[in-house]
C-alpha cells in the first residue's frame, strides 16, 4: 500500500558491511524518509564507524545530518569485532570521501531533535549496539510516543554468536538492549534466528554485481569481503544480518514474526547478553509475561535476495566520484 506519505526514519548503526547494505536498502525505498544517521561503536571504534557512515552516505546520496554516537556502552567497557569487518570496519572497495561535515549534535541530541520536529511517528533502525537508542529513551521519556517502532538487528532466541549465549550487538551493550526491550515502545527484533537464515550465496553476489551500477559493484565487493571470513567459519553464504531490520519492517509478509516476551541477561558468567525469549511452554505454569517484542524467526530466503536486488537496482544512473 503506497499512500504517498513517507515514514520518517533514523538510521543508527556501526557500519560494518551489513549495516552499509542495510542503509543501501533503506535509502532505496520510496517509503522511507531518512531524517538522521547516528553512529555507535561496535564493529569498530566509533571514530571508524562514523567515518564509514559518512562515506556510505556520500556513496548512496543520503543527505540527512550525521551525528557521532557514544564511544562507551552504558555500563560495559567498549569492545569491537576486531578484524571481522577489516581494520577500517568496512574493508573492501574504495569509497567516496565524506561530502559534508558532521552534525554538531550528539547522536542522542540529533535523534531527539528529529523526533520533536516530526509530525508523524519516527521509526528507528538500530543495527549496532543499542547504546544511543537507550540513552535517548532514558533521557527523553517525553519523546517515546513519537517513536513508531524500533527495529533492531540483535540477539538470538535460540543461540548466540560472539559467545555461545550472546549475539554481538547485544553483548556490546546488554543494559542498553534491556532498556530498549523494556521501554514500552514497539520493538521488532531480527536476531540470529532469522539473520543466519538470510544467507546471500556467492551466485547472488554475481546477480548483484551484474546489475552494473556503481552501488551494485560496491555492494558485491562488500559481500565478497564479508564472505571470506564466513566461508572460513563454514557458512555457505554471507549471513546478511542488518538488512533484515529494514526488510522485515518493509516486507513483513516474507518473514515469520512471532510476538513474545524478551528480556536481556545483564549478569551471568556465561549468559551476559543472552536474549531470553519465552517462546515455549512453561511446564510449571509459571507466569507468562505479556509479549513486548515482535521477534522475527524466519525468512523466505529467495524473496529476501529479490528485495535486495530490487533495492540495488534503484541506484541505476547514480555515479559519484571516488
Amino acid at each position: 500500500m503506497d499512500t504517498g506519505k513517507k515514514i520518517p526514519v533514523i538510521l543508527d548503526g556501526d557500519p560494518g558491511h551489513d549495516d552499509a547494505i542495510a542503509w543501501t536498502v533503506a535509502k532505496a525505498s520510496n517509503r522511507l524518509d531518512i531524517r538522521a544517521v547516528t553512529t555507535v561503536g561496535g564493529n569498530q571504534t566509533v571514530e571508524k564507524t562514523t567515518y564509514n557512515a559518512r562515506r556510505i552516505c556520500a556513496l548512496l546520496g543520503i543527505d540527512a545530518p550525521i551525528a557521532k554516537g557514544n564511544a562507551f556502552p552504558l555500563m560495559s567497557k567498549p569492545m569491537t569485532a576486531g578484524n571481522f569487518h577489516g581494520t577500517s570496519g568496512l574493508d573492501g572497495p574504495k569509497l567516496p570521501e565524506p561530502d559534508r561535515p558532521l552534525s554538531g549534535y550528539t547522536a542522542v541530541e540529533l535523534m531527539a531533535k528529529v523526533l520533536r520536529e516530526s509530525e508523524d511517528p519516527v521509526t528507528i533502525f538500530s543495527t549496532g549496539a543499542q547504546t544511543n537508542v537507550a540513552a535517548l529513551l532514558l533521557t527523553h521519556p517525553e519523546l517515546k510516543e513519537k517513536i513508531g517502532c524500533i527495529s533492531i538487528m540483535g540477539g538470538g532466541i535460540q543461540y548466540g554468536n560472539w559467545t555461545p549465549a550472546a549475539e554481538f550487538n547485544i553483548l556490546v551493550d546488554p543494559e542498553a538492549a534491556q532498556t530498549v526491550f523494556q521501554s514500552g515502545v514497539p520493538v521488532q527484533m531480527c536476531g540470529l534466528d532469522v539473520t543466519e537464515k538470510a544467507l546471500v550465496m556467492p551466485e547472488d553476489f554475481e546477480t548483484i554485481r551484474n546489475i552494473g551500477n556503481q552501488v551494485s559493484r560496491i555492494v558485491a565487493e562488500w559481500l565478497d569481503f564479508f564472505m571470506i571470513i564466513h566461508k572460513e567459519m563454514g557458512y555457505e553464504g554471507a549471513p546478511l544480518h542488518d538488512p533484515n531490520a529494514i526488510l522485515s519492517y518493509l516486507y513483513p509478509e516474507i518473514y515469520d514474526i512471532r510476538e513474545m516476551h524478551v528480556e536481556v541477561e545483564t549478569a551471568g558468567l556465561y549468559t551476559r547478553g543472552c536474549t531470553v525469549g519465552n517462546y515455549g511452554k512453561i511446564a510449571n505454569l509459571g507466569v507468562l509475561e505479556q509479549p513486548n517484542v515482535r521477534v522475527v524467526m524466519n525468512v523466505n530466503r529467495g524473496k529476501f535476495v529479490e528485495k535486495l536486488v530490487e533495492a540495488v537496482k534503484k541506484y541505476d544512473g547514480r555515479e559519484v566520484k571516488i
Partner: protein, 313 residues
C-alpha cells in the same frame, strides 16, 4: 553380549522418574547396582521413600537404595508439586518396602560401587545433580571411574521452569556446573530430546486402560499431569527420564552432537540455563565433553517403556 550393563541411578521420583526406574529394574540387559535419592520433584523424604518402594514394587528389594541430599548446594529448594504432587507420585500410593535401610550415604555408596565396577559403571541421573556434585567434591577421581554420565536435565534451547532453564538444572545449577565442568563422558538428555518423547492421548489411554497394579500406578501417578493437560497453555506428558535408561538399552534410538556445556549459576534471568556451543560461531575454550541429545525414535522409546512395564504384574 557377555554381561549385563552395570548401572547406578540417582533420582528424585517423581512420575516419569518412577517409570524410568521401573524400566531399568525390569530390563534384563541392565544390572542396577544401586539407587540414590535426591530432593527435586519432591522433598527428599518422599523421593527416598518412593525409590525404596519402587524397588519393592518391581520385586527388586535386593537393590540397595541410598538416601542423598535434602537441599541443593547453595540455592533454596524448589519442588514441582503441580506436576508430581506433594509426595512425588501424584495420587499413587506404593506398598511400603520392608528392606533394611542402607547405612552409606548416596555419594559414598556411588563411589564405592564405581570403584568396584572398575570403570564400567554407567551413572544415570534423573534429578538435580546435587548428590553427584558432592561425590565429585569428595572423590575427585570419580569422573575417571565412570563409563559415562547419562543426565536427564538441561536444554540447549528453551526451558520448562523458566523460559531458558530446565527444572533439574534450575534446582541446583551449581551442582550441574560441577558435573558439566569435571565430567568426562557426559550425555545430556535435555528438553531438546525429552520433549520429543511425549505420549499422545491415544498412547496414554492405551497404557492406562485395564487392570493390574502397574496400570493402576500409571493412572494414579499421572493424575496431576492429566489435570495440567486441561490447561489452555498446553501441556504434554513427557517421558523425560525414560530417555537415558532407554539409551543404555539401545543407543541407536537417539541422535546427539558433541558440545561443551556450562550451567549458568549467576544470571538474574538465566540461572540454571545450560549454555551449549552447539550452534554459535564461538565455542567454549574447553574441550567438548558432552553429547547433547537432539533426536529420539519416539515410537521405539514408547515400545521399550511399555514392554518393560508390562513385566510388572
Amino acid at each position: 553380549m557377555s554381561g549385563r550393563i552395570p548401572v547406578w541411578i540417582d533420582t528424585d521420583p517423581g512420575v516419569d522418574d518412577s517409570f524410568a526406574v521401573l524400566c531399568a529394574l525390569k530390563d534384563d540387559q541392565l544390572d542396577v547396582r544401586g539407587i540414590s535419592a535426591v530432593m527435586g520433584n519432591a522433598e527428599q523424604k518422599y523421593t527416598y521413600k518412593n525409590a525404596r518402594n519402587l524397588a519393592h514394587f518391581a520385586n527388586r528389594d535386593e537393590v540397595p537404595v541410598y538416601a542423598g541430599s535434602e537441599v541443593p548446594l547453595f540455592k533454596k529448594l524448589r519442588t514441582a508439586p503441580l506436576i508430581h504432587g506433594e509426595t512425588g507420585i501424584s495420587d499413587a500410593v506404593l506398598e511400603e518396602s520392608s528392606a533394611p535401610h542402607a547405612t552409606l550415604l548416596a555419594w559414598d555408596a556411588l563411589y564405592k560401587e564405581a570403584k568396584a565396577q572398575n570403570g564400567a559403571l554407567r551413572l544415570v541421573t534423573l534429578g538435580p545433580l546435587t548428590n553427584i556434585a558432592k561425590a565429585f567434591m569428595k572423590y575427585p577421581e570419580l569422573p575417571d571411574l565412570l563409563e559415562g554420565i547419562y543426565i536427564m536435565g538441561g536444554a540447549a534451547e528453551g526451558g520448562n521452569i523458566t523460559p531458558c532453564a530446565e527444572f533439574n538444572v534450575y534446582v541446583d545449577p551449581h551442582a550441574a556446573e560441577t558435573v558439566f565442568r569435571t565430567g568426562k563422558k557426559v550425555y545430556m538428555f535435555g528438553l531438546d530430546v525429552t520433549q520429543k518423547a511425549y505420549l499422545t492421548d491415544a498412547e496414554y489411554h492405551g497404557i492406562a486402560k485395564g487392570e493390574g497394579r502397574m496400570t493402576e500406578f500409571f493412572r494414579k501417578s499421572t493424575a496431576h499431569i492429566l489435570r495440567l493437560k486441561e490447561n489452555p497453555q498446553g501441556f504434554e506428558l513427557y517421558l523425560h527420564d525414560v530417555c537415558p535408561v532407554a539409551y543404555l538399552h539401545e543407543p541407536s534410538l537417539f541422535y546427539g552432537e558433541m558440545a561443551k556445556v556450562h550451567a549458568e549459576t549467576e544470571g538474574t534471568i538465566t540461572s540454571g540455563k545450560t549454555v551449549t556451543d552447539l550452534w554459535s560461531d564461538k565455542s567454549f575454550a574447553e574441550e567438548a565433553n558432552t553429547k547433547v541429545m537432539l533426536e529420539v525414535n519416539r515410537e521405539a522409546l514408547i515400545r521399550y517403556m511399555t514392554d518393560m512395564l508390562k513385566k510388572i504384574q
